[in-house]
Amino acid sequence: MGKSRIIGGGIAALVIAGAAAVFAIAWRPAIAAIEPPAPQSFDTALVKRGRYLAAIGNCNDCHTVRGGKSFAGGLPVPTPFGTIFSSNITPDAETGIGRWSEAAFRRAMRSGVDRDGQHLYPTFPYDHFTNVTDADDQALYAYLMTRQPVRAPARENELSFPLDQRFVIAGWKLLFLRHGTYQPDSAQSLEWNRGAYLVEGLAHCGSCHTPRNALGAERASAQFAGGDVDNWHAYAINAQSPAPVPWDADALFAYLRDGWHPDHGVARGPMAQVVSNLSSAPQDDIRAIATYMAGVFGAPTPDRKRQGEAVLAQVKSPAVMQASKINAAGAAIYAAACATCHETDRSPPYGGVNLALSTAIAGPDPRNVANIVLSGVRPVEGERSPIMPGFAASMNDGQISALLNYLRARFSNQPAWTGVEKTVEDARRTQTVFLQTSRGPRNARADATQRDKP
């Protein structure tokens, strides 16, 4: 009797201690609401710097629905765990962040906790934003608080139990949220350090380009080894890069700035929005990102360098096209529908990149090529930009599959893809949904339209 009472008391104490521990880990206090500050109360130079930073952070991309008001949120982000809707980060007092103090904003960026003390889902990449400095958070805050307030209530996330319970995120953070993952390296140049700070922090490149584990966290051991975003593959941007011609700092700079590079082709899919935003960021910051990332890619091995040079030489003096005996159907489609632009010497937009330079065709799976063949590349409003017609209406899945198999065999030295037809079917289904729900082009300008992206 006495013994069981002691055991019972012990269990009760353990339960209470456990609950207290969970509470201590999960509970965060609310930060007092403020009267929405007047836009004039912010220094214009600070707001301007915030605008550049927001472009580097690609904020509008997730926080704006296609055709909707900027930063009003509501974009559905599909994840393996359910759909999460982005939040309204306009300064609307009731539905946005109008009553957030700068301290509340900084806490959200640093620790993924909203003003009320609720944990935010890591779809909001605070695992990177935790590296952003106080000064930059201040500028971002000033920029967002001076946007047009939009009344747009948050949409309910579609998650199943227990993931719909926000305290669960505290456990995730305990496992995966590391502060100070960017540390300056005094052995490196100032430019390199600036690039590292941006890439590991605000630009959150790893959110798409680093593969994730079963719990949705970036795998630190495979940083930049290639990830998934929507129905697209985000290529490896380290030594495992599948690009036929190795990247260097100059090429990265041009690509991030202009959205294309003659040796690599154009940014499209989710990356189109990123470069569209980066085109309005300060040149020095883009140069810094390019410098840092060139180090992440690493100097190419002599073998890789030789291969890249061989590809460039081949592109400059194209051999006579040889009739393919193995895949006559794919070869015929390529010759009739693709080569007329992709195998001419014309520069964009009159001609397309030679497909021997295509990372998509050298990539690990055919998703990106399938997406491009189906829907093409839509031009960006008001800018000189690449353009390609889509072939969804004129080619069936079998024809596109034959074409993709041919492209892979002819233009890469990689083994054949598997499951091409299934990929094309899936891509067509996704694109159909996309075309029905979208208003504008996928790679529209920052302030006009948006696209899905975790």
Binding site: G67, A332, I333, A335, A336, A337, T340, C341, P349, Y350, G376, R378, I387, M388, P389, F391, A392, A393, S394, M395, Q399, S438, R439, G440, P441
Partner: protein, 165 residues
């Protein structure tokens, strides 16, 4: 030799399989509604309907058309009996030089066959790949809205669809 079904009629085509559909239509079958604009699939003036979908005929080679049905503007109606989409464009005077209009009408027709009540946003999004240098866009949009109303009282489908050759 390949058989191509255009506006309900079968044509024996003697051309290389990589010949663009636009050349076949204009040069071989003498249907001149679809226009050569850029030849790169970037302007939309060559648009025709293939199996219900708007397709850029200048970048669609013959070899992709085996067993498919092609509809051109000539297949929708005649000057004496214009189809609702054609009537709507005439009534709104949505033409200035007219070069882009056949393509505009074909894509609008494909949209209305699929969705008889599109919103203004959907119409704009659908016609976005089409260029008009005269700046007739507002009239074109009005014409499509008028076509929606006309089709409410008429048959939305093209006159040749489903009829025997």
């Amino acid at each position: 030799m390949m058989t191509l079904k255009v506006n309900g009629l079968y044509h024996e085509i003697d051309a290389d399989p990589d010949t663009p559909l636009l050349y076949i239509l204009r040069d071989d079958i003498k249907l001149n509604a679809a226009k050569f604009g850029c030849g790169l699939g970037q302007c939309g003036s060559c648009t025709v309907i293939v199996d219900g979908n708007a397709v850029l005929s200048c970048v669609t080679p013959l070899l992709l058309l085996e067993g498919k049905q092609v509809t051109t503007l000539e297949g929708l109606g005649t000057p004496e009996a214009p189809a609702p989409i054609q009537r709507a464009f005439i009534e709104e005077q949505a033409v200035q030089c007219g070069y882009c209009i056949a393509g505009m009408m074909m894509r609008a027709q494909a949209l209305l066959q699929r969705n008889s009540k599109p919103t203004d946003e959907q119409i704009r999004a659908e016609l976005e790949p089409h260029l008009c240098r005269c700046g007739t866009h507002m009239r074109i949009l009005r014409a499509v809205h008028r076509a929606i109303r006309l089709m409410d009282t008429a048959d939305a489908s093209a006159s040749t669809q489903g009829s025997a050759p």
